[in-house]
């Protein structure tokens, strides 16, 4: 048995990926959960608009962090729809109306709790987009992205690594196929399957959980397509760095986990310290969550989501290009006619 234990440790020592999972992952999870796993939002981005804005602003509890750069002429509901703030106070009504964005679930819950202490006749409170603060309404749009991420990274990378593991990638490289034909031939089926999945999950989500779909279907489809390019690109990238399917799954899991924890999908980004939340802002799922919740729940248009769309397009271009270049190099290393460096 001693020999067996020794052999196992020797193998583990040389398997850097497993070692990373064994050592780095627990530390990472501890840090992320310790800092990010916080459902309580301590600071809610708030706008105060209307004639008595200045007067009301001073009476709000500290929980409501009033954004100073928002003009008091803005429309309160528009500010929520465009996800500029989570709470908008309209002081032009008597009493003032506090609009809460129900699609920002935890911020909304904190806002409700904060306002509960105020006297009844001081403000009217109205929760928009998710009046009952139903968790499923917020989760389902984000879940679509998670499912697409799963297909894009794990399923795609496994499919590609299988070719390498079976030695058939060499056969493809010898055939009179252009590298782009091979790459597209491998990716298009996953793209189509992921599109089907996206439709099924969206329809089921709306049907089973009564999730509203207020905005444009086409805009969501466009967002989905761009997001798919990002996650498929990640899948291809993973495949180029993996020799076996097990390695691909390992790496895909390491990419999936931070997306689940830090994209605002489960824990609100607003509740995380800046030292952790910045990671969320470099993850594609964060922008999908913003787009899908914006379109489905708030009916947000392209204008208010252009930033999220822009970031996803940038990610798609960078990641997909890098993936194709690396995959192409695997397929046809001498395609450029250059001699290998000595």
């Amino acid at each position: 048995m001693k020999a067996m234990i020794l052999k196992e440790f020797r193998e583990l020592r040389r398997d850097k990926r497993t070692m990373a999972m064994l050592i780095a992952l627990p530390i990472l999870l501890l840090v992320i959960f310790g800092y990010a796993a916080n459902f309580t939002v301590d600071e809610i981005p708030t706008a105060v608009v209307g004639d008595n804005a200045e007067q009301v602003e001073g009476q709000l509890p500290d929980l409501f962090a009033v954004e100073d750069d928002i003009s008091s002429d803005e429309d309160a509901q528009d500010l929520l729809r465009d996800n500029v703030v989570d709470v908008a106070v309209d002081t032009s009504t008597q009493p003032a109306t506090v609009y809460i964005d129900g699609s920002s679930l935890f911020a909304a819950q904190s806002a409700q709790a904060g306002l509960a202490q105020a006297p009844d006749d001081l403000v009217d409170v109205e929760v928009l987009y998710n009046p009952d603060l139903t968790t499923a309404w917020v989760m389902v749009p984000a879940l679509i992205g998670l499912i697409l991420t799963f297909i894009g990274t794990i399923i795609t990378s496994i499919g590609l690594v299988k070719e390498r593991q079976n030695g058939t990638i060499e056969q493809l490289a010898v055939m009179p196929l252009k590298a782009s034909e091979v790459i597209m031939g491998k990716i298009v089926p996953y793209f189509i399957l992921a599109c089907f999945d996206m439709i099924i999950v969206t329809v089921l989500g709306v049907w089973l959980f009564d999730v509203p779909f207020v905005g444009s279907v086409w805009l969501l489809a466009l967002g989905g397509a761009i997001f798919l390019f990002v996650v498929l690109g990640l899948g291809v990238l993973i495949s180029t760095a993996s020799q076996t399917q097990a390695q691909a799954i390992q790496m895909a899991m390491m990419m999936l986990l931070p997306q689940i924890l830090l994209s605002g999908f489960i824990f609100p980004l607003e509740a995380m310290p800046a030292g952790i939340s910045w990671i969320g802002y470099i993850l594609p799922l964060t922008y999908w969550v913003e787009i899908s919740q914006g379109i489905m729940l708030r009916g947000a248009g392209f204008d208010s989501l252009s930033w999220a769309f822009g970031v996803l397009v940038l990610m798609a271009v960078v990641i997909f290009t890098a993936a194709v270049v690396r995959f192409r190099r695997d397929l046809a290393p001498s395609a450029h006619g250059k001699k290998a460096s000595k």
Binding site: E170, Q171, A173, V174, M175, P176, L177, P333, A340
Partner: protein, 285 residues
């Protein structure tokens, strides 16, 4: 003479400080079967990968059909890798259909032996059948040059003989064949041989050129077991041919002394080295 289908001139491939292929040159003419011989790690597969364009050469030139390896030259080439390059979850028919589509040719006929297995996933059929299928797939587009990496590895003698019949048939019709093997009986079926050792080309030509002046000694005694053990214990390179013990890479005096030390009566006689023995001698050189 027609232009060679394949010409490799002073090809070298290095990986960091390791030289996998070192200054190798070879040609394959139409209708010619060229055998690439060498022990594991001799550099055969690396050379094949360079020829196919899967790996760039560090130095030297490679030409397929008079041009640099490209997508056009690939259409004229058939390749059977050692791992066969078949898609396990697809059926035999689906494998052939995919390869036909990729080469843009009409449906390749299913080999007779596979007729009943055409609809079975390739992963569920025997290795011998898989090799036949891979061979059929490589021939479907009527290539002018066939590159076969250990084509009969793991195949029973009958299937091996059938595959070699098919290779000869193709060569007779003008197809050039480059085949790697470490089966000496198969090497003897080649028109020309290139022997590689530790990345270098150590010999080339007919079988007799490879054997060169390598000589063997043969000892016949009453007790071949004791003779074999005695010579082996003396550190000599020993093999068995029937009940005769053969020694290569040694002189008669050393053999006689080893026999005398063991109290065995017998005299070594000079014999022509086999191809395998010549390879061993060159490998040790």
């Amino acid at each position: 003479m027609s232009e060679p289908l394949l010409r490799a001139s002073h090809v070298t491939r290095t990986f960091g400080h390791f030289t996998a292929v070192d200054d190798v040159s070879l040609t394959v003419e139409p209708g010619e079967i060229v055998g690439l011989l060498g022990a594991n790690g001799a550099g055969k597969t690396t050379l094949i990968r360079m020829i196919l364009g899967l790996l760039p050469a560090s130095e030297g030139d490679l030409e397929l059909f008079g041009a640099e390896p490209s997508i056009e030259t690939r259409t004229r080439l058939g390749y059977v890798p050692q791992g066969l390059g078949l898609w396990d979850s697809l059926t035999s028919r689906e494998n052939l259909d995919f390869v036909d589509d990729a080469y843009g040719v009409a449906s390749t006929p299913m080999p007779d032996a596979l007729a009943d297995l055409a609809d079975r996933p390739v992963g569920q059929i025997g290795l011998g059948y898989q090799r036949q299928l891979a061979f059929a797939a490589a021939l479907g587009h009527e290539p002018e040059l066939l590159v076969l990496d250990e084509p009969t590895s793991g195949v029973d003698p009958l299937s091996r003989a059938r595959l070699w019949d098919a290779i000869h048939e193709r060569a007779d019709s003008g197809v050039g064949v480059l085949v790697t093997t470490h089966y000496m009986q198969e090497a003897q079926q080649c028109d020309r041989l290139v022997l590689m050792s530790q990345g270098k080309q150590v010999a080339a030509g007919q079988e007799s050129d490879i054997i060169g002046d390598a000589a063997a000694l043969e000892v016949e005694t009453d007790d071949w077991r004791a003779t074999f053990a005695a010579l082996s214990d003396a550190g000599l390179l020993v093999s068995l041919a029937g009940t005769r013990v053969r020694v290569v890479d040694s002189d008669a005096d050393a053999v006689s002394k080893a026999l005398a030390d063991a109290g065995i009566q017998g005299q070594p006689e000079h014999a022509t080295a086999t191809l395998e023995e010549a390879m061993v001698v060159r490998e040790r050189a």
